[in-house]
């Protein structure tokens, strides 16, 4: 029986193992190694060993905010930003999936096909499109708000710290929403009709059905999809970079953006050594969430 053979797989797995060793394990090792050095991206080999200095730097170095270290503020900012985006994705995702699954909707198929279009757009281009859409003079968002008399003068979505923070995670949610909707939709479709019929016979209203039947049955899907989205959003770079480059006043400088800045922009007090120390935390967060994710999968069969 094929499944009983113990040795042959190695040859088939060799490319994967080699690729993983060279391009994942080795770079991970390099991140750890570099975190103990001070180096510049222009001359990575010209480096000095600094021991734990970089880690001390993470918690001591203050840049624009004298109250909290640069790294900590970036990390916390990431958590907050990701929280916002994820929450939006979940709420709109569940809502959207319910709507697109509803029997009351005419043209379900069309809506679903249209809904996945944002997924097909490269993130960088989505960001450029949104930047223009949100433009304070010529963008359609301001145009609509002005015409509906919701506002009197145009809003500058990306130029004030708090608003830029919110706007960027809303755009990020937009990018991830189709995936969310499709995943939850497939979860919805696997709920047997009989459950709903039974509930309706019992006289349950729409809201009761949703909270007592649908949501609990969707828990596995929502959990897996949230964990995935959590990691992907935590790693998000393109969108913020193109919309605000981390500004204004570092309001949107999440950990990925900070890592990039420290690596390539701030050579005097940055460098790839310090960036590597920051990356350890980036990787650490992803690893912890991945462990949860793997545990969740293990509850199904392997």
């Amino acid at each position: 029986m094929l499944s009983k053979k113990k040795s042959t797989p190695i040859y088939f797995l060799l490319p994967l193992i080699i690729a993983a060793a060279i391009f994942i394990i080795y770079p991970l090792y390099k991140v750890v190694e570099l975190s103990f050095y001070d180096a510049n991206f222009l001359n990575p080999n010209n480096r000095t060993f600094v021991g734990l200095e970089n880690y001390k730097w993470l918690f001591n170095f203050k840049l624009f905010n004298p109250n909290i270290s640069y790294f900590l503020s970036a990390f916390l900012r990431s958590l907050l930003w990701v929280g916002g985006s994820l929450l939006l994705k979940l709420v709109l995702g569940i809502f959207g999936a319910m709507i697109f699954n509803s029997d009351r909707l005419y043209g379900k198929k069309v809506y679903r096909s249209l809904a996945i279009i944002p997924w097909a757009i490269p993130w960088a281009m989505a960001a450029m499109m949104w930047a223009w859409t949100l433009n304070s003079q010529f963008g359609i968002v301001n145009s609509i708000l002005l015409r509906l008399n919701i506002i009197n003068s145009p809003i500058s979505f990306l130029s004030t710290p708090t608003l830029a923070f919110i706007t960027t995670f809303v755009v990020d949610a937009w990018v991830g929403l189709p995936f969310m909707i499709i995943m939850i939709l497939s979860g919805l479709q696997s709920i047997p009709e009989s459950y709903y019929e039974a509930a309706k016979i019992d006289g349950a209203g729409d809201f009761r059905i949703f909270f007592k039947i649908t949501l609990p049955l969707l828990k596995p899907v929502i959990l897996t999809v949230s964990l995935l989205s959590l990691v992907w959003t935590f790693n998000s770079f393109d969108i913020i970079w193109i919309l605000t480059k981390g500004g204004p006043l570092s309001a949107t400088e999440t950990l990925p953006v900070a890592i990039y800045n420290i690596s390539f922009l701030f050579q005097k007090f940055g460098g790839i050594g310090k960036a590597s120390a920051m990356t350890i935390f980036q990787v650490g967060f992803v690893t912890i969430i991945s462990l949860f994710y793997i545990k969740t999968l293990e509850r199904g069969e392997f």
Binding site: W174, I242, Y260, T279
Partner: protein, 282 residues
């Protein structure tokens, strides 16, 4: 079905919310389309018009003036897409087969867990070492650097796609071939690949589109030569300039997004199926 007013309101609300959601999802695309169709010499009005009043196709031609290397960027994106998908296929097909078929294999579980873990990785996590490694190999500013680096992030899911698909297929045909004296290595191209065509298409489409569309940060760091830039990076240079010529830029972006969007829509079945398989275990 009792058609009372409650039901009618519910139906109306469902339609309304669906439309609002779609408006949200398509808003920037709509904005891109109307801007690219608007004559660029028309002065801007505030508030800007919601529906295009004057049409022109001239921006599409002018886009090539604004972005002189636009065709080259397109070619480059294609190269990256092709390169990433090629590598992903080469690695994922045998690995996925091995992991899917040989369930008693000693290291199967750890490797699978590693694949799932690696699937969570994104370029920012390995940006610094990738740059350092590519630099020391002298590969910075070459197609290879982005192709190799980009593949890192598509291989895990590609492998997983293959693994889960194989498990849905019975192994009789391969067993029969083995008994007939066929070597295990011949089985792969002659039997397995034809059998797993749907998975292969999923892997190809997924990794091609990823290689084509999502190499922004890797290209930003590894590519400085304009001639090698993918569309995302190439167009970004024009986006961030002062006095951006929005009409022409939007036209360029529209033309650029056509390929991934069309590919995506045609193959959406494969992509959706792939993603569902990749994140859930049925």
């Amino acid at each position: 079905m009792k058609k009372n007013w409650k039901s009618i309101i519910k139906t109306f609300l469902v339609q309304l919310f669906a439309i609002l959601l779609i408006i949200f999802l398509l808003l920037p695309i709509y904005q891109m389309v109307i801007t690219s169709l608007r004559p660029s010499d028309l002065s801007w009005e505030v508030p800007s018009p919601l529906f295009p009043d004057k049409f022109t196709l001239s921006n599409f031609a002018k886009a090539f003036e604004l972005v002189p290397r636009l065709p080259r960027y397109l070619l480059n994106s294609f190269v990256y897409g092709a390169g990433v998908s090629l590598i992903s296929l080469i690695i994922a097909i045998p690995a996925g087969y091995a992991l899917g078929r040989f369930k008693e294999f000693k290291f199967r579980k750890p490797i699978l867990m590693f694949v799932i873990y690696a699937n969570m990785f994104a370029p920012i996590m390995l940006l610094v070492p990738i740059y350092v490694i590519m630099k020391s190999l002298g590969l910075v500013n070459t197609y290879f650097s982005v192709i190799l680096a980009g593949s890192i992030f598509t291989i895990p899911l590609s492998t997983w796609l293959m693994t889960s698909y194989i498990q849905t297929l019975p192994s009789e045909i391969e067993e029969a071939a083995l008994i007939d004296g066929c070597s295990i290595f011949k089985i792969l191209p002659k039997i397995v690949i034809p059998m797993t065509a749907p998975a292969i298409v999923s892997i190809f489409i997924y990794s091609f589109i990823t290689g084509w569309s999502q190499q922004f940060i890797l290209a930003l760091v590894l590519i400085t030569d304009d001639k090698l830039m993918p569309l995302t990076q190439g167009l970004y240079q024009f986006f961030s300039r002062s006095s951006v010529r929005w009409n022409e830029l939007m036209a360029a972006i529209l033309m650029s997004t056509l390929i991934p969007v069309v590919l995506f829509l045609i193959f959406q079945k494969y992509i959706v199926k792939g993603m569902t398989a990749g994140s859930l275990k049925d």
